[in-house]
């Protein structure tokens, strides 16, 4: 699904609100006094970053480093009136290209909503600062741009930390490092080259192997992935995580975000017994955790994939149950 009219989306956008409001209600419980002065400065930067990512026209070259592996890609984002076009072309590896056409500018997904919390701040609440501690400092030059550095440390053990560098002028994210609890850098995403573009000047086409049109939630909540026979639910989420789309009970996937980290839970019903156990694959900042177990006499396989620690994935998988 690539083409969405504003009308179609505005209906489906309403469906995103309940889970988000629920998450905000939960985070609001924490004492607002934790929201320090330095945090509000950082929060303003994150707000600006979130808008900049969707509203500024730019193109450049980005590297993604995970372990010993480095990927290079060309990215472009252009805004044309009420909608945007973005493209990512891999210059290494598979050489795939991903495009998103006609994304309405007024379509703000939960991840961005969690970062754009200006209104909350005025109410004395601090949104994502209830989950993370921030330190703002001068940054180095990245891709020829002066940067401001934001150090982001998790307040609990359920998410990773980050070190971000934002363009001092535009707020665009220039560099992002994912940092484990042991202070190890798991993944680094960084612009090597960046140009701001005024108009829709699509960069020259590279030779690509595959072109994929990025998907988008559709109104009515139809699911694009697999579905299961019985409605199921995730019983426990780390504080501050909200569902990314309106998901039917029988959809095989649930995805949650706290604004910075995202993880998805996939449910499979098995047609025969499986020996209980768990499997784990870690690649950069991404954890894939698969658990075989029984839910009310039904053998199932639950898989959690996302940019969260193993511990979080395990606890989320452990809380999965059938809807009563």
């Amino acid at each position: 699904m690539t083409h969405n009219t504003g009308n179609r989306w505005s209906r489906s956008r309403l469906l995103l609100l309940p889970p988000l409001l629920a998450a905000l209600a939960v985070t609001g419980v924490v004492a607002a006094s934790e929201c320090a002065e330095t945090d509000s400065q950082a929060l303003q930067w994150l707000d600006k970053m979130s808008r900049s990512l969707r509203q500024v026209s730019y193109e450049g070259v980005v590297t993604l480093q995970r372990g010993g592996e480095m990927q290079v890609m060309q990215v472009s984002h252009s805004v044309d009136g009420a909608s945007s076009f973005e493209r990512m072309t891999e210059l290494t590896g598979q050489g795939a290209q991903v495009e998103r056409h006609s994304h309405p500018m007024d379509c703000v997904h939960p991840g961005d909503q969690l970062l754009r919390i200006g209104a909350l701040l005025q109410e004395g609440r601090c949104g994502i600062a209830e989950q993370y501690r921030f330190t703002v400092a001068d940054g180095e030059r990245i891709a020829g741009r002066n940067a401001v550095n934001i150090r982001i440390e998790p307040r609990d053990m359920y998410r990773f930390g980050y070190s971000m560098a934002l363009d001092r002028e535009t707020g665009l994210l220039l560099k992002m490092q994912t940092i484990s609890h042991g202070n190890q850098t798991l993944e680094t995403m960084q612009f090597a080259h960046l140009t701001y573009t005024d108009t829709d000047t699509a960069s020259p086409a590279s030779q690509v192997a595959v072109i994929h049109a990025a998907q988008h939630p559709q109104s009515g909540g139809e699911t694009t992935g697999t579905s299961v026979a019985r409605p199921w639910k995730v019983g426990w989420l780390p504080r501050g995580f909200a569902a990314t789309d309106s998901q039917l009970g029988v959809s095989g996937r649930r995805t949650y975000t706290d604004g910075l980290a995202v993880f998805s839970v996939f449910m499979e019903e098995l047609d025969r017994e499986i020996r209980p156990g768990e499997g784990l694959v870690r690649q950069g900042g991404t954890t894939t955790y698969t658990r075989g177990m029984r839910l009310a006499d039904q053998p199932v396989l639950v898989t959690v994939i996302g940019e969260v620690p193993v511990n979080t994935a395990r606890m989320v998988a452990d809380s999965v149950s059938w809807e009563q």
Binding site: H216, M293, N311
Partner: protein, 203 residues
């Protein structure tokens, strides 16, 4: 079980708990039924991850068999002498040469389907090939090993679960990464970059 306890428990399983947490969990294990259940679940999952014998498989013979097997020279009769000498494993001499009957193993009331795949321990016991369980991999969960305990044939579970589950996790990563990336691209501040984490992007 409250949030704090859940956290302590999980930290404990990850060897990250401090003494205070350890004490708290241990003191409540006796009285809190829910905690006890969670503890069992975590342990079960954890043990298969670390290739231990699962807790529900309550005879510890298979672990000893396995370590004995590892030490056993390929010449079985000399191996038998070694084993007999320590007096521990006399009944297991015929291990590995028992009838190659495909067995469905029942452990702790749970039926575990006959599983197929290569023997990770390089033994010469025969396995019956069957369709891989839930159609996902070649060597899932336990592999049965034929053993003889006195006069009675005993199916012994070998904890091949770790390798199998790891393979399973890898397969699931390949299958689901793109769907996760679709969501991450819309809900994290990296634009389309999350797609670069997908090993092979499908159209």
């Amino acid at each position: 079980m409250n949030e704090r306890m859940r956290e302590s428990l999980s930290a404990l399983m990850d060897d990250e708990a401090n003494e205070l947490e350890l004490e708290r969990v241990l003191s409540l294990l006796g009285t809190d039924k829910e905690l006890r259940l969670a503890w069992t679940r975590y342990n079960l999952a954890q043990q298969s991850l670390h290739d231990h014998q699962p807790a529900y498989c309550d005879w510890d013979i298979s672990a000893r068999v396995q370590s004995a097997l590892a030490d056993t020279p390929s010449n079985l009769s000399s191996g038998a002498r070694t084993l007999t000498k320590n007096g521990l494993l006399r009944p297991l001499i015929s291990f590995g040469i028992a009838a190659s009957v495909a067995l469905t193993v029942v452990v702790g009331g749970r039926q575990i389907a006959q599983l197929s795949g290569a023997d990770p321990h390089g033994g010469d016991s025969a396995f019956m090939a069957s369709a891989s369980p839930v159609g996902m991999l070649n060597s899932l969960g336990a592999t049965t090993v034929q053993a003889s305990y006195g006069m009675q044939a005993i199916p012994v579970l070998q904890p091949a679960t770790r390798t199998a589950y790891q393979e399973l996790a890898q397969q699931r990563q390949r299958r689901y990464m793109q769907e996760h990336a679709e969501q991450a691209a819309l809900n994290s501040p990296q634009g389309l970059v999350p797609f670069a984490r997908v090993a092979e992007i499908r159209e």
